[in-house]
């Protein structure tokens, strides 16, 4: 039975909205643009930031020191490390890098109290941009986006659920759990309607 | 211990009115004759007595429950020298703030019997106290939105019927037939699958209940002292001796504490611990509208309930605020959610406007059932923990609490509601199947 061959296909949490087929080149014609950044790699990491063994080992594995200030993140050559809580980080990277990162971390953390989990199937990211991007998000979240400076990530509300927000270049990354994707996208679309909403070709922006 | 069902129905029988002390002069004839005299001849609804230095029984808190307790103490137990002390204006606590839903379709026998006893009293209350409390038996629907809701409804309706309480289980179409405005579409977030319906349930005029009991109690000689705050309890050898109040010291050997949201404060003064947390519960009314909703609709799943008052405003109740508070106000997202819930049930109300919004302080217990109990202090009794749903119990609660105080012994209907249950574990958990209890 070893001659089984398969062609596994992945689907992102927003797959069913067929965003690819609707996406357009981003320009100034619309107030808000958004699209999913599908199928990234997400690794949950927990450990004690006060434990130098842990932070050193993580740094060795990742090539970058973990952010440890409240609500901080660092951008790395391979993605982002978000501090979600004093003892919890989310590593976001290209899906292909996920396994390697995870294995490196696990190897480095042997014997150190910590937790490394591949959570890639469980999250997705939506990128929101355009001149009214922060207006639209102010319809969706109670967080003060003016306080969301570069280098900061916050966990906050989105409609009746919660997300992580990160201001990135010319827009916002909204990171959330898969099962809420349908709700969050609908909520975003609804909120963006008065500003004229376009599905962004993220390659083009 | 648990109430035996066999003999409970007989407990519901109400003693006939004795004594002719009750001022009967509210009538259409009196109104007409006064109309010709510019209404100059009306007398105070309740007396404004001077506070005395000692009473046989002091009731703390002139809410509906406190006033009813005093009334029944005087009327059914012949106690003469009673005071009701109220820190603000009478009927100004939760009695002034509730959405007035009266029903008795509770799940567990103990609770069902208690509330049914009360409902029976409601049915004769206007006549009994000669004050129109506008008890309106327009029926109450408790909607079900999930399969489990429907199981719970079935369970509760069957239990009600076996306890002799009117209740029906309806499917979605039957609900729609009775409330044509309601949205039973399958596409809503929580489609309505059915409801339990109690035809004898309804609403009453909250203020009238307080005033009617105040008037009736006052007629029996009860002293109602407003603007008198109880600030301390004088307890010796685990026996109550008197009360420190903002109007001075009062001697008494029996104190009934009926202070709803403030019960923990009173308990602290008595050195007793209470399984109570005080939370804001908010409500709001719309502007006044022509009749559009002639019944009461409650939904736990979407967190809202609504009826239309005789004045025309939609009276809408919200969910509880999670934090504890004594401030008689809550947070706006609760109200926002409730408005959304009402629109989910009645999409046409989207353009109707909220006129006024307020909050009360509800005394919640771990099992969503009240405490009507003696305490370890002799002569000190507590009646509290009605949480989000005690208005409906006002006459019944007063009636059995009066019995408890008069006899220093629980009435059979409130034996199960003693403080002991939090030690024995014999909770009467109305959360599970009856949900939020309004």
């Amino acid at each position: 039975m070893s001659n089984l061959t398969f062609n596994p296909v992945m689907q992102s949490p927003l797959h069913h909205f067929n965003l690819k087929t609707k996406q357009q080149h981003v320009d100034g014609s619309k107030g808000v643009w958004a699209n999913e950044m599908p199928l990234l790699g997400y690794i949950s990491l927990r450990g004690n930031a006060q434990n130098a063994l842990f932070t050193k080992a993580a740094k060795k594995a990742l090539g970058f020191a973990l952010p440890i200030l409240p609500c901080s993140l660092i951008s790395t050559s391979w993605g982002c490390i978000y501090l979600l809580s004093p003892d919890e980080w989310l590593l976001v990277c290209d899906r292909e890098l996920r396994t390697e990162l995870q294995q490196k971390l696990e190897a480095a953390l042997v014997g150190i109290h910590s937790q490394v989990i591949d959570n890639s199937g469980g999250f997705t990211t939506v990128f929101v941009q355009g001149k009214n991007a922060s207006d639209v998000l102010h319809h969706c979240t109670v967080y003060d986006l003016n306080a969301l400076t570069i280098g900061k990530v916050v966990g906050t509300t989105f409609g009746k659920t919660s997300v992580f927000l990160h201001q990135h270049n010319n827009g916002y990354k909204v990171i959330f759990r898969r099962s809420f994707a349908d709700y969050i996208w609908r909520y975003l679309e609804r909120s963006a309607l008065p500003y004229d909403f376009g599905i962004a070709n993220l390659g083009s922006s | 211990m648990a109430l035996k069902c066999e003999n409970s129905l007989s407990l519901l029988a109400h003693k006939p009115i004795t004594g002719a002390r009750l001022n009967k002069d509210y009538s259409i004839w009196k109104l007409l004759s006064q109309g010709f005299k510019q209404h100059q001849g009306w007398t105070p609804a309740w007396r404004n007595p001077e506070i005395k230095s000692s009473y046989d029984v002091v009731i703390i808190g002139a809410g509906g429950h406190g006033l009813a307790t005093a009334y029944y103490l005087a009327r059914e137990h012949g106690i003469k020298n009673i005071a009701v002390l109220e820190k603000g204006y009478l009927g100004g606590g939760n009695t002034a703030r509730n959405t007035t839903i009266v029903r008795s379709n509770y799940l567990w026998d103990e609770a069902a019997m208690l509330y049914e006893h009360s409902l029976k009293l409601w049915e004769g209350l206007t006549e009994e106290i000669n004050f129109n409390v506008m008890f309106s038996q327009r029926g109450v629907f408790n909607l079900g939105h999930t399969l489990q809701d429907m199981r719970d409804i079935e369970r509760r309706v069957n239990a009600n019927n076996l306890n002799g309480i009117d209740a029906l289980a309806l499917n979605a179409q039957e609900v729609k037939d009775r409330i044509p405005m309601i949205n039973i579409s399958k596409n809503t977030r929580f489609p309505i699958m059915g409801a339990s319906f109690q035809p004898r349930a309804g609403v009453a005029r909250h203020d009238a209940v307080a005033w009617g009991f105040a008037r009736a109690a006052s007629n029996y000689g009860v002293d109602i002292i407003e603007n008198c705050e109880v600030q301390g309890m004088d307890i010796e050898n685990a026996t109550i001796k008197g009360l420190q109040t903002s109007l001075g010291y009062i001697r008494t050997s029996k104190v009934g504490c009926v202070t709803a949201g403030h019960s923990s404060v009173m308990a602290k003064a008595a050195g007793i611990r209470m399984p109570i947390e005080s939370h804001p519960l908010q409500a709001f009314v719309s502007e006044s509208l022509k009749p559009i909703l002639d019944t009461v609709v409650m939904s736990n799943a979407v967190h809202g309930y609504v009826s239309q008052s005789d004045k025309g405003e939609l009276v809408i109740g919200a969910g509880i605020d999670h934090y504890t508070s004594y401030a008689q106000r809550g947070s706006p997202h609760i109200i926002e959610h409730t408005a959304a819930a009402i629109i989910e049930l009645f999409p046409m109300f989207s353009r109707v406007r909220m006129n006024r919004q307020w909050g009360g302080i509800v005394d919640t217990t771990p099992d969503a059932c009240p405490i009507i109990s003696k305490t370890k202090v002799k002569g000190l009794y507590f009646n509290c923990g009605w949480g989000t749903g005690g208005f409906k119990a006002t006459p019944g609660s007063g009636n059995i609490f009066a019995h408890t105080i008069a006899h220093d012994e629980p009435h059979p209907l409130n034996a199960a509601f003693s403080l002991d249950r939090f030690h024995s574990g014999h909770l009467i958990d109305e959360h599970g199947a009856a949900g939020v209890a309004h």
């Binding site: 409240p70 609500c71 979600l84 809580s85 004093p86 919890e88 109670v142 967080y143 306080a147 916050v154 966990g155 906050t156 509300t157 919660s162 | 403030h262 923990s264 404060v265 602290k268 611990r273 209470m274 399984p275 109570i276 947390e277 005080s278 999670h322 934090y323 504890t324 508070s325 004594y326 401030a327 947070s331 706006p332 997202h333 771990p366 939090f422 030690h423 024995s424 574990g425």
Partner: protein, 99 residues
Amino acid sequence: MFVINCPHCNEPREEEEFHYEGEAFIARPAEPETQTDAEWGDYLFMKKNPKGWHWEMWGHSAGCRKLFVVKRNTANHAIDGAWTLTEARAAYDAEMAKI
């Protein structure tokens, strides 16, 4: 509608990000089996529920998911401060010692 400073996120956040978690520092008896029914019942159910200053827990449910302690006045909704569980313990003990 409170603004609460999450001591872990180190910034003020809207009430909707949080979940109320009740009275703080209710100690679980070390040896439950030796408790009487009354003692155990008190631990399970009895609450301080003060009118006035209240030491309580909140969870930052939409944020860092940590529980922490807030000292809040239940009569007027003033907030005196918010601390991590460990920080608050010391402040709480000091205050209780005074009473």
